[in-house]
Amino acid sequence: MHVYIYDDFLNKSKHQKTINRLEIRLTDLGLNGKIIRLAGIKNVKSAIQNEIKLGAKTIIAVGNNQTVNKIIGAIIDTEIYGDFQKKTLLGIVPVGNDNSIAASLGIKDLEEACQVLLARRLAKIDLGIVNNHYFLNQISIQSLGTVLEIDDYSLEITARGEVRVINLLSDPSAKISSNPHDGRLDIYIRTKRKDETHLTAKEMKISNPENKIVIDGVVEIETPAAVSVRRDQVSLIVGKDRLFE
């Protein structure tokens, strides 16, 4: 059974046409299913968990990066997580802004998302963890003054720019080939002096007293933050134009 989780921001009238178009297209393709609207639901976690307990085979996040992270955050480290990993697939229909996760999976728009759901191409993806938050794409922080502690060494960045810790690459302009199922995170630093740094690590600590970490372009958290990765945690429905092998 397909369960579509509509994020609460889709309640705004400006998205109504898009949602109507989506529902018509899904019906045409025989992909219609149950709809859960997060707007008005007080306990989002238990609403999502309940659908998995009821046997949802595919959970589809309709919204943006935050919608995807809400769903993962509702499931991971709960008693139903084992069942979710074994039996449930996660799909994405991007609506609105901040949809870098969908872009990484090769899903550019609503029409493509429907085709991807129909084709049901699967990939297991690692999950990044920063303190008690989860990320599929990346976390980022301003580079000047940032210190990364990794294994037996530390990296201090002495110029303005951006540090990105990438699980699933969303920006093809970063000159790295990131693998989201190797159990490692890619660290990519680009400064305004035009120099680039890249390396990989399984875990690290990030500190910067002046700046916050941004998770998947949406949520901000303070440092110091412990960052790690768990291998092959989520089964995703992906497009053929995804940004990874």
Binding site: D151, Y153, S154, L155, E156, T158, T191, D195, T197, T200
Partner: protein, 134 residues
Amino acid sequence: MFNKSSRLEKFKDAETVIGASIRVKGNFQGQGNIIIEGALEGSLKTDANIFIGEQAKVVASIEAKDAIITGEVRGNIKAKNYLAVGATAKIFGDVQYGEISVEKGATINGQLSLGSEEGKRAAKIEDKENAPAK
């Protein structure tokens, strides 16, 4: 030294690149080929190859299969296979190699010594592999 272009090719897709704005402190053990353009203090080791850029300042012992040095290194260098020292290199420390080339203008302030027989053999095998087919 850089006529051995096939050896420089190895760095085209280096797994680890440390840019000029980065200071590394501690024991840096990279995976695969490493390029250092910034500052590093501690030790630097890989089973693959290391390139130290012109602007780099390294205060560390270095251990690699092949190493190309064009910046400043204060510490001992051990290149099991091949060591190339560029014209802009400044090395303050002992150097051990399987095979070496030094460009005019380079500074080496330390002892040079030929490494193990194993290293020398590896260098010869690699030379044969890289030789053009007749």
